[in-house]
Amino acid sequence: MRLLIGLLFSFAVAAIVGLGLTQFALTRGTAFGAITIGAWTAWPKTGTSDIDPYARAAIARSGELPIGSGDGVAFFASTDDTGRPLDGRCMVTIAGTTPAARFWTLTLYDLDGRLVPNAADRYGFTSQEISRRADGTFGIVLAPRARPGNWLPTGGIDRYVVVLRLYDTPVGVATRTAKDAPMPAVTAGACA
């Protein structure tokens, strides 16, 4: 009898710990080989056959097709540079320069990977449509209400992710630091 209870206890612990860890790993995106530069994180290996088992399980679960490494690389930011989660009710500026690439796109998604709904039907910018300063740097403002310049509407959504995709770029598995890939700063401002 004591053996039975002990076994049941062990199995219960195993199920909770095992499945809990799996759930946690797959929803938090704990793939290996991440490059983190400021608020931005990319997993270039996820776009190759060298993809690790965690990323493999995560894409099978989400249904996402990761960008192939011969195509480009995607950087994700869900917080600002100080680590505070991005809030659609606040103003956030993305400013600076981007790593070498033929072009880039910047897109807003909710945490499940859906585009962020807004009245303007504007979900992102490409490097060819934004206005730049005289020195070639740029600033993009993410805010719930219209702003002058490069404005991306957040639709007042609670939490969101910004994805900066570089296409035809030398940035990849060999990239380590901000010197190889200067990413723009993500700064949170006033909240509505």
Binding site: G6, L7, F9, S10, F11, A12, V13, A14, A15, I16, V17, G18, L19, L21, T22, A25, L26, T46, G47, T48, S49, I51, P53, Y54, R56, A57, I59, A60, R61, S62, G63, E64, L65, P66, I67, G68, S69, G70, D71, G72, A74, R102, F103, T105, T107, Y109, D112, G113, R114, L115, P117, Y123, G124, T126, Q128, E129, V163, R165, Y167, D168
Partner: protein, 181 residues
């Protein structure tokens, strides 16, 4: 007390095994992976354009709205596949995904180096069966080996601004994906 600690320890070790096993087995049991999501819309060995993603509807999560996308769901059981993609003015890329969604190969217009991206897709076995003296090895055709007999090819063209999206979509219309006869 000691006995319970031992049972707990046993449970934790077993939990670690359960965790590793589920992570490794999950890709095989997933019912909502990219291949399954596209199976309803995409015919086998043919090209179909995907609707542009909107907040309410997107076939796949995290699609880039600045691109026009078409997909070829392939099955190499009836022979190797021939892919022809004329490149658009802006940017064109072709990405290959195994049945599980692993991106095993991707090429863009500049790497292809000409106006048409042309390649043959086959399994390792089909490649081994290719006669050595065949023209195909002499010609500068690109041969891609698929790790699985089925999978997905994503053909994407860039629309630098919303007004240029129709042009990007038109560029996709002449892409071809078919079995060699």
């Amino acid at each position: 007390m000691i006995r319970w600690l031992l049972w707990l320890l046993g449970g934790l070790v077993l939990g670690g095994i359960v965790h590793l096993a589920t992570v490794l087995l999950l890709p095989r049991t997933a019912t909502q992976d990219a291949y399954a999501r596209l199976a309803a819309t995409a015919p086998v060995n043919g090209i179909v354009p995907l609707p542009a993603p909107t907040p309410d509807e997107a076939l796949l999560p995290f699609m880039d709205p600045a691109f026009a996308t078409a997909v070829c769901r392939y099955d190499l059981a009836s022979g190797p596949l021939q892919l022809r993609v004329p490149v658009s003015q802006a940017y064109t890329s072709v990405s290959f995904y195994a049945r599980s969604g692993v991106a095993y190969y991707a090429i863009n217009d500049r790497a292809a180096g000409r106006r048409i991206i042309e390649l043959d897709l086959m399994t390792t076995q089909q490649r081994a069966e290719l006669p050595d003296d065949e023209e195909i090895t002499a010609a500068d055709r690109l041969i891609v080996e698929s790790p699985t007999p089925t999978g997905l090819i994503l053909i994407r063209t860039f629309g630098p601004e919303p007004g240029l999206m129709p042009m990007a979509r038109r560029a996709l219309a002449s892409a071809q994906c078919r079995t060699q006869s």
